[in-house]
Symmetry: C3
Subunit: 272 residues, 3 copies
């Protein structure tokens, strides 16, 4: 199953259409999410006032919900926005940041999933395990879980929830429960900057905004992050570290072309 | 009408006086606004607790109000801060981010303008058109409006509201309804990073803080952004993109001198 | 009194243990605090919902409280988190950003100190003077106080409050009221970017998380910031300014080794 043609087509479409990606996200990495959305060629907006979220959602081509610094008082407005998006067929991408980290956070993630039924969930292994009802190894918002069997976890969560799961880690797994896509790009430095996961989720939102397939949209977003991360990591000279890497990551997403995805992407897909 | 001497004098004054610029701004680009304010030589503060905004405003030399992620519950405190500033003669600069994007946002911008009567409004064409009561082309918080006739819109809004309008776009227009200043610097990359508008507004605030003229202060801030953006854009080597551009933009504002403004500034002013 | 062996040991321990550092911090520099915490090798989390702060604190190895954009409505939850940390012996580091800037801010800082009794207070001279009941020179959140006698102020505050004071300035002073450590590294550019103080506080938190001594932990964090800042500043080529400096600062903290601290650290300690 060769998904490269679809993935590269998605990239071209984003640059042609500049889709609006509405974010209900955290205050730590909002700037990074906005800049990576612009870097891939889409248009970010972060309005979160309950008075305007629903109206803004209706103008957007995708809705990204990220619970990194979720306040429980904001949850009702987020759910209303999510339901509005679902009703109108606008793809909803959930980043359950730190699910399993505290019980309030796990509850919020579960409530969002049950009520909104997001099209795509993008998380690390610990977060996805938590949603599967397994005890995930999580420290704060970072995963410490062992990756063996992570693909099985992703597939079972996708099948159980009827959505696409994009589980990022050393190897990224994107699955809708029937098909699975493995991406072997990236850089170890992605775990040494904040917001790499949030940015991947924004890229998934940007790709789903222009694709009829949530599965291919999720795969495209993760592929762009993986290839860009890998190229940014390889570009570093002696003495350059996380600061330079972070800057080059934006350069690399901005510079990603169908050709680069084709040349560097280590992407395999198959039926489950 | 040669405004270069006044603009360069403003730059020198900022570096001598390091004026305090109070920001009531959004959580997406607050860090960028703080860093650009420091880069030009002023001192930013972002306190937004209703208990302290008015006290902080009284210590400031300018107040920047930016509604990028405005919550309606914060609006009363923002208006109180704005009125305090106006009473004391401290210049108030409004950035009506995304006005026209949602009705709540448009109402908030209008209410701020009616009650506070800001000295300067800095926005893109879609936002300024909205304030003129015309239908502006806006997607999220980015302008999609056609720029033809934008100067006429800026002049009519400035005249109607009795304030300075700084309309940024391919050519920037700064006008108080009687005089108009056109600035032809900048870089297309400024639309590919988040916060370029917000940063321009912070620079306008920094310049108005040390100038007796809001018109010249606004022109100076936009000129610094334009020249710095242009030099940052021209500095990019092959493979460098939005990440590097963003970093160099801070370098360039920090490095801007009267000499550079004089050498690179494409600034023309005339009576309307 | 040679503290270099302990400081370098702390650095090694952070990289081995990757301690979780919980932050209750401001929205302007949260991203910088998260990235600097990752750069030194620790793991940041920024959860601030009252429903989860205490549960998250119990998983953390240090708690950083930063009042940069404190809202008074959040104060009770912050105090509850601080008391939970103290009960469990988790070090609490307070950054009283802008204390003295407004009366609400000063009251909040004092209330936090009286109720939580932080282990370490990291501030500039104006902020520490304010806590000493002296009139500090402060503009917004930046110190304008004269540094003569700053060491005496730090020692008297540390002795009076029974905590460690880390007063950063041209020379940094770390003291527990009985011992004093002076660090003469850094760069003037640290005052030209936002968040340098906040980042120093995050590094102090990261170091205190793995050290039995709050005094040595504070000294280690400030030493890492000082040496990294100095190396970042020295690395700048012609035309490079605050933007490049900021990026290199993250590179430099990431690259700091016991060897670099030993080679470049200008650290002297003695009994008071």
């Amino acid at each position: 199953m060769d998904v490269l043609p679809e993935i590269t087509e998605i990239l071209v479409k984003i640059r042609n259409r500049k889709p609006l990606i509405h974010h209900l996200t955290n205050f730590v990495t909002a700037n990074d999410s906005a800049n990576i959305t612009l870097a891939i060629g889409a248009s970010p907006v972060m309005a979160n006032d309950p008075l305007e979220v629903e109206e803004m959602v209706l103008k957007a081509s995708a809705l990204v919900i990220n619970i990194g610094t979720l306040n429980h008082q904001a949850l009702d407005a987020i759910i209303a926005a999510g339901l509005t998006a679902k009703e109108k067929g606008i793809p909803v991408i959930l980043d359950p940041v730190g699910a399993g980290g505290t019980s309030a956070r796990t509850r919020a993630a579960r409530r969002l999933i049950e009520t909104v039924m997001p099209d795509v969930i993008r998380g690390n292994l610990a977060e996805i395990q938590e949603l599967a009802g397994q005890s995930g190894g999580i420290k704060g918002v970072d995963s410490t879980a062992c990756e063996t069997g992570s693909e099985r976890v992703a597939i079972s969560v996708a099948a159980a929830l009827g959505c696409v799961v994009a589980l990022t880690g050393r190897t990224d797994t994107i699955t809708d429960g029937k098909r699975v896509c493995r991406i072997d790009n990236g850089s170890p430095l992605l775990t040494s900057i904040t917001g790499a996961g949030c940015m991947a989720t924004s890229l998934v939102g940007s790709c789903c905004a222009v694709s009829g397939s949530r599965f291919l949209g999720a795969a495209a977003g993760i592929a762009v992050m993986g290839v860009a991360g890998e190229l940014a990591g390889k570009s570093l000279a002696a003495g350059e570290g996380v600061g330079t890497f972070r800057m080059r990551l934006f350069d690399a997403v901005y510079a990603v072309t169908p050709h680069l995805i084709t040349e560097y992407g280590k992407i395999t897909c198959e039926e489950c």
